[in-house]
Subunit: 190 residues, 2 copies
């Protein structure tokens, strides 16, 4: 997605070989029109796939996902990051490790919002180690539903997430694919 | 907002005299078209007020706020809930107490995304005790900017937040105003 790569080059800041800050349009300040265009791209790729619901993970995935869900006329489900296990039995939970924060959380989905018949698109803002997206996929499959695809706004292709998702056979569609980061340098996959 | 009140009556669940669950269309599963209509209502009320940016608090405020920001052609800024103080000096922070979670967090705003010239609309999903909205207002005023208004999707008018915000002279616009909750009962302000 050309306009997204242009914004990443103009406004993104590579702080190290793994950290890219895009907090002027995606994570802290958010450009709603860009989010809408991102939604259009996801819709164009996934529109004929019989998707029934779109899942995302709080909180930076919400803005691009709600714009996609509106254009595809589908509900969005926000998976919650809870600190502890919920013992009620009315939720699906799976433990996810956040490399960014160096801690674990329980990715949580109410059983009310998924059925075996669901065919689900997962959308998230970043793909790095793949922990969040694969955690979402585990919850969906535990519920007996299908992961139809995974849409990512910015993929750091040199980190393990890309290959882990591909090795599980999921259809991964990333709008911007970064091949290399260094302080002050951002390169895209050719 | 009639369509919102209808959804609250049809799908909302009053769990106690203070807790209203609306997780089928606002907090967990989200209806993007309703979020768009909420955005239209906020735009119609605040459109001639010279607003420069829209602030919200992660994470349930993001979906209605990004829909408002798109229709008003303004950037959205997501205030972050951090656990500890940031000592870098590049952020504004204020301590907010969450009655829901029974704990405190540091509401955090990068200094890059606010100037003294800003005229800001705050939007959030719920107003109860007013802690989050008033925390956002403190950050804005600490930066020397102006709080032009506060937009709330669902106000629990019988809790202290409404009066606290009014007593500070802010223009508060709530789309649904609930006067009373009891297990199984939801009443709106007439």
């Amino acid at each position: 997605m050309e306009i997204l790569c242009k914004r990443i080059l103009e406004e993104g800041r590579a702080l190290s070989s793994t950290v890219l800050k895009v907090d002027s349009f995606l994570n802290h300040q958010v450009d709603p029109k860009l989010m809408y265009e991102i939604g259009t791209d996801f819709k164009n790729y996934f529109k004929d796939r019989g998707i029934t619901k779109i899942f995302t993970i709080e909180s930076s995935g919400i803005a691009p996902t709600v714009m996609t869900a509106m254009q595809m006329d589908l509900p969005m489900i926000i998976l919650k990051k809870q600190r502890g296990k919920n013992l009620d039995g009315d939720v699906y939970q799976t433990t996810v490790h956040s490399f960014t924060k160096g801690s674990d959380y329980e990715l949580t989905l109410s059983k009310k919002y998924i059925t075996k018949e669901d065919n689900i698109l997962i959308i998230d803002d970043f793909l790095a180690n793949g922990e969040a997206a694969l955690g979402a996929a585990r919850l969906i499959e535990e519920a007996g539903a299908k992961v139809e695809g995974i849409g990512i706004v910015i993929e750091k292709s040199f980190q393990p997430g890309h290959d882990m998702i591909m090795s599980k056979g999921y259809d991964l569609f990333s709008l911007a694919r970064i091949s290399k980061l260094e302080e002050g340098l951002i390169e895209f996959v050719k």
